[in-house]
């Protein structure tokens, strides 16, 4: 029995994955469907399913310490701000005045960044077919009172997946949006060719988001459904980290600086061989000293759970990954954040009774770490945890069904 399953596992993992080039836009493989089933309006069903409630709340501080929040209600992204750490909030303002299906489950969520008085928002609009979307962008030049008509950033407009947007803004007013894109898969499928995973694309705005230049391909063969992490480097260029499909089906992480010079490099080597959808993307923070801090998840049989690593050579090499979190408590959704040489990690665990957010911190650029400590708990549905910062302090940003939105300062006891 054990032998046969071992063989099964080996074979399953070593076998090429023809399906990768097939059904990812909900079309199905020829012959996979029965002709006897009654006709079903899949698009209608899909639209109905998009109406499920979203607990995604994304928050960020502007330079003045004002907290900005983006959330989804109905078919709109709403933006509000708070000057008292989220206790009271301004009346939410609609970003998209026309209703759209906004993706806000799992790895999908709106993004919000506020710099030099401009509010930047990106999000993914769900389209009529399962697993499809467009990357949307809007900005406010009047302090969040009104927002520009959202524009579609992806310049390929097929009803395919352009989803999992990541956004960054630098001090020059350049806006970078990166996302996962199936246009190359679509081309390959039409030719009857295989294409592992999907493409990773990005677009740049040099005018504070008024317009975006032509889309640029960052990489071929990214994994299909894990969020992309983006952080701005000290020179103003963004760095992205994503789950990549190496070889046939090794789904480890890769890194690329979007400066037009670098080629993608491999960041992690868990060798997770899986023809599947982890729905579990990485996190990245770049410190003021230029050190890259990354956190990610893997479920490779020999290297399971959450990992952290840092790079002092702009992503060329990373420190030996630190495995963290209580593996018996299903650690998940890591977020990493740095303030100079202080580095913070938060993640989710479930102890059998309650969902908790656990945190730990480093005072020496990620070389040594405090013991993990519980920061907050809940006993119902909750969003992913995120770290944000202001005035040299780090905060956990977390939305839960029972308790609502919470912003919790991360304490740093002396070791």
């Amino acid at each position: 029995m054990k032998n046969s399953i071992f063989t099964l596992f080996l074979a399953a993992t070593l076998t090429a994955c023809p399906a990768l080039a097939a059904d990812h836009s909900g079309h199905g493989k020829p012959g996979a469907e029965t002709s006897t089933a009654p006709p079903i309006d899949r698009e209608k069903l899909w639209k109905e399913s998009l109406a499920k409630p979203s607990f995604a709340v994304t928050a960020s501080f502007d330079e003045n310490g004002k907290l900005w929040l983006a959330a989804i209600r109905g078919q709109h992204v709403f933006v509000s701000y708070s000057t008292d750490h989220g206790v009271t909030r301004s009346a939410p303002v609609k970003v998209n005045t026309e209703p759209e299906n906004i993706l806000g489950d799992g790895e999908n969520r709106p993004k919000i960044i506020v710099r030099k008085g401009v509010v930047y928002v990106s999000y993914t609009q769900g389209l009529a077919k399962p697993m499809t979307g467009h990357i949307r962008f809007s900005r406010s030049l009047d302090g969040g009172k009104t927002f520009s008509q959202p524009i579609t950033v992806n310049d390929n407009l097929e009803i395919i997946s352009h989803r999992f947007d990541a956004m960054g803004v630098n001090d020059r007013g350049q806006v970078f949006v990166a996302w996962l894109d199936k246009r190359d898969l679509s081309v390959a499928a039409k030719k009857g060719e295989k294409y592992a995973g999907l493409g990773l694309y990005y677009a740049v705005s040099d005018d504070k988001g008024k317009s975006f230049k032509a889309n640029i391909k960052a990489a071929d063969h990214a994994c299909e459904c894990c969020r992309v992490a983006m952080a701005i480097d000290t020179d103003g260029y963004p760095v992205i980290v994503w789950r990549h499909v190496f070889d046939t089906n090794i789904r480890d992480h890769a890194l690329l600086k979007l400066d037009g010079k670098m080629a993608p490099v491999r960041l992690s080597y868990e060798n997770w061989n899986v023809a599947g959808c982890p729905h579990h993307g990485p996190s990245l923070s770049i410190a003021s000293d230029g050190i890259y801090h990354a956190a990610w998840f893997s479920n490779a049989p020999q290297q399971r759970g959450l990992f952290y690593g840092h790079s002092t050579d702009w992503g060329g090499t990373f420190s030996s990954p630190m495995n963290f979190g209580n593996i018996e408590a299903q650690p998940s959704r890591p977020s990493v954040f740095s303030l100079g040489s202080r580095v913070f990690l938060v993640w989710k665990e479930f102890d059998g009774e309650r969902t908790g957010i656990i945190g730990m911190h480093s005072g020496d650029a990620g070389k040594s770490w405090s013991a993990p400590g519980k920061l907050a708990t809940t006993s119902d549905v909750s969003d992913w945890p995120f770290l944000i910062g202001k005035n040299n302090r780090a905060y956990l940003s977390w939305n839960t069904k029972n308790e609502g939105y919470r912003l919790i300062e991360i304490g740093e006891e002396k070791k």
Binding site: L8, T13, E33, P38, I40, P130, V274, A275, H279, H280
Partner: protein
Amino acid sequence: MKQLGLLVLLCLTALSFAPTSTLAAQEIKPFVRGSYQQIISARQGKPFIISFWSLSCGHCMDEMAMLKKLAKKYSKLDLVLVSTDTPEEKKAVTAALARSSPRKTETWLFADSYTDPLYFEIDTKWHGELPRTYFFNAKNEVTAISGKLEYEEVERWVREQYTPR
């Protein structure tokens, strides 16, 4: 799978409500706390496969088509399909099952929006990646595999399990 023992009480309670036939007509059952153990307890001493899937997982639809083909050939195969989607998506899940799943399959849909306890009960080594397939042999020994499986390999397992020795 260690925590299964802890759930004995839960399953005993759940069992009293469990349907006697495991191959009832296709009606999606609500998957809540205790459901996983209920599925297992109803099959003591018999081989079976539990496959977790979702509408948002392209690989899952490929795997379901493969399992359908397999179930057609091996009528004895006891297959349980559990969708990790939400009750709001029940119509879409039903449609996908009607289109792609084998006819005589027990089907479930996550019915508790608080999914953390569900995943924990199923397997602490599982982090929600899909498809996720559990192979139970007649001794109730289980092997879990993440990712889409190939027909030939699952067929080999089915032949081993359902061939009298």
